[in-house]
Amino acid sequence: MFEALGLMVFYENMLALNNVSLTCRDGQIIGVFGANSAGKSTLMYALSGLMLDIQRKEQMQGGERITIRGKVNYLGNEIMDYQPARRAKAGIVLCPERRRIFPESSVLENLKIGGYLATPAQAKETLDYVFSIFPALTKLKDRLGGFLSGGEQQMLAIGRALMAQPKLLLLDEPLLGLSPAIQYWLAKSIKDIRDQRGTAIIVAEQYARPIMPIIDYGYILENGSAVVEGGRADLMDNPDVRAAYFGN
């Protein structure tokens, strides 16, 4: 369904992603793990096309030069030069790192804006679904996005991404700042979303413990290269991975 081949991203002269290839089949949950500055966010940006936008803005301001190479195939099309909005229309939706909530819109409005690509019926249905996985948001409907607490914003960001009716959902550090209970629920919900809606999901995380058990296939990034890949069981059994991500 989705396949990235030989992705390379340079920030000026720094290689942030080195020849990373990644495949995601229909309805799979893929995990991407890596420590700080391994290049997870960069990968997510490249997959969602945001990198193209970042590149353009940088160029305008004459700043550093970003080079992107590689191929992305999605549902039989080569989409590397699709702009992010077009990729979103095609069903690739990113829930970006550091939340990026619309601060001046209420929670409900945030979700409604997220429903830009959805039909009214879909929007309504998804809205109910979002509130059912994050009941905490129900109470906060009218609060401005910017006033939410860190964790609440994280939930909202995920909900908003769901509103865009993704076929492939990219989650960048979804667990950041969530309480253990919500982390646990979120991990469950990710599985739910896949099971109930057939959405394929790629999760980038460094806190692997809650996510690892739900993935179908995983990649470990280190300094921009995918050093280990394998199915869930393979990864769980790999002693290096256990040491780095489970602390035992």
Binding site: F10, Q61, G62, R69
Partner: protein, 340 residues
């Protein structure tokens, strides 16, 4: 063919000397010294010699003085906007206050220009800072708009209350002894301020200013009072503008409410955008371009401003990063194609 291009990318590399001189000055050869000093020398030498070169066309000497006044404003805008984070559209306020202070000191107290100009710089800066003090907590556009309202208000107040000569302005301000003094005082001021500020923003105090711009909450959390720093920034910037205003009033032997005119707020910003914001030297470059262009276009008569606006637009759109940014990048770095 396609594949070949695919696998190459253009690389930018800092020239060795640039890397080394970012913090430490360990220069070893004449070549390197030249590399460092040449652009600075070009600017200083060029500006110092310009009045002499223009002596055949006295009118352009006058234009040069005006360029300097706009440069002062443009540097002050750039400093406030890109290093303190206050986008101030109050250039006209600084000019006006400076001009009136100098004119009043001169006509009422009879002080000579050698006193009125420094006094107007300091006093004017103080007055502007006091006026803007209540607005310092404002952010972004809100501050910009309030600072835009102040010069309009000042002009209207003078008009409505009919003080300081009302709409007629203050006549009889003493002129400067001769045009060389005019030009060299202004050029000197521009150069000193330019290099002084460039120094300042990289000092520790300057870093605090930049901190305030980037993220004032974090500065607060570091135990620093941001209002004090913003006020200091405004004082530095407005004193520069007031210096320009004081010079302007002595240059034309007159001060009037039109010195609060919008042009003084807008042209410096245009110059900053054209020259490249955040470089301090860029705005001067911008003024050196824009003001003469405007003068050259005078032959177009009424159409002049339209043509000027189109040229301005073209600059902004085609070199959106600003000439100085572009230039220094080309100077400091070289580019080459590398195989991936």
């Amino acid at each position: 063919m396609e594949a070949v291009i695919q696998s190459r990318r253009k690389e930018r590399v800092d020239r060795g000397i640039k890397v080394r001189t970012d913090g430490v000055y360990a220069v070893s050869s004449w070549r390197e010294i030249t590399y460092l000093v040449a652009p600075r020398l070009l600017l200083i030498g060029g500006l110092v010699l310009l009045p002499l070169m223009l002596s055949a066309v006295p009118y352009w000497q006058k234009v040069l003085s005006i360029i300097c006044i706009y440069s002062l404003l443009a540097i002050s805008f750039d400093f406030l906007a890109h290093f303190v984070g206050l986008v101030s559209l109050g250039g006209a306020l600084y000019i006006g206050i400076g001009a009136y202070t100098a004119a009043l000191l001169n006509t009422h107290l009879g002080l000579p220009p050698i006193l009125t100009i420094p006094l107007a710089t300091i006093l004017g800066g103080g007055i502007c800072t006091l006026l803007l003090w209540p607005c310092l907590p404002l952010r972004g556009v809100y501050f910009a708009i309030v600072s835009l309202m102040f010069p309009l208000l000042a002009a209207r107040v003078i008009e409505a209350l009919d003080i300081f000569g009302g709409t007629d302005g203050i006549l009889g301000v003493v002129g400067l002894p001769n045009k060389w003094v005019e030009m060299y005082v202004l050029l000197g001021a521009v150069l000193i301020i330019l290099f002084g500020l460039r120094r300042l923003v990289n000092e520790d105090v300057g870093l605090v200013f930049r901190g305030v711009k980037d993220n004032d909450q974090a500065v607060k959390a570091s135990g620093i009072n941001i209002i004090t720093f913003k006020a200091l920034g405004v004082f530095i910037a407005s004193a520069m503008g007031c210096l320009g205003g004081a010079m302007l009033s002595h240059l034309y032997m007159w001060a009037g409410i039109s010195q609060f005119a919008l042009d003084f707020s807008i042209i410096p910003i245009a110059a900053t955008v054209v020259g490249g914001g955040g470089t301090l030297a860029g705005p001067v470059l911008g003024c050196l371009l824009l003001v003469p262009i405007s003068e050259l276009l005078r032959d177009f008569g009424t159409l002049r401003i339209a043509v000027y606006a189109v040229i301005l637009c073209a600059f902004i759109v085609f070199k959106s990063e600003g000439l100085m940014v572009y230039g220094s990048r080309k100077y400091q770095q070289f580019e080459r194609w590398v195989q991936i």
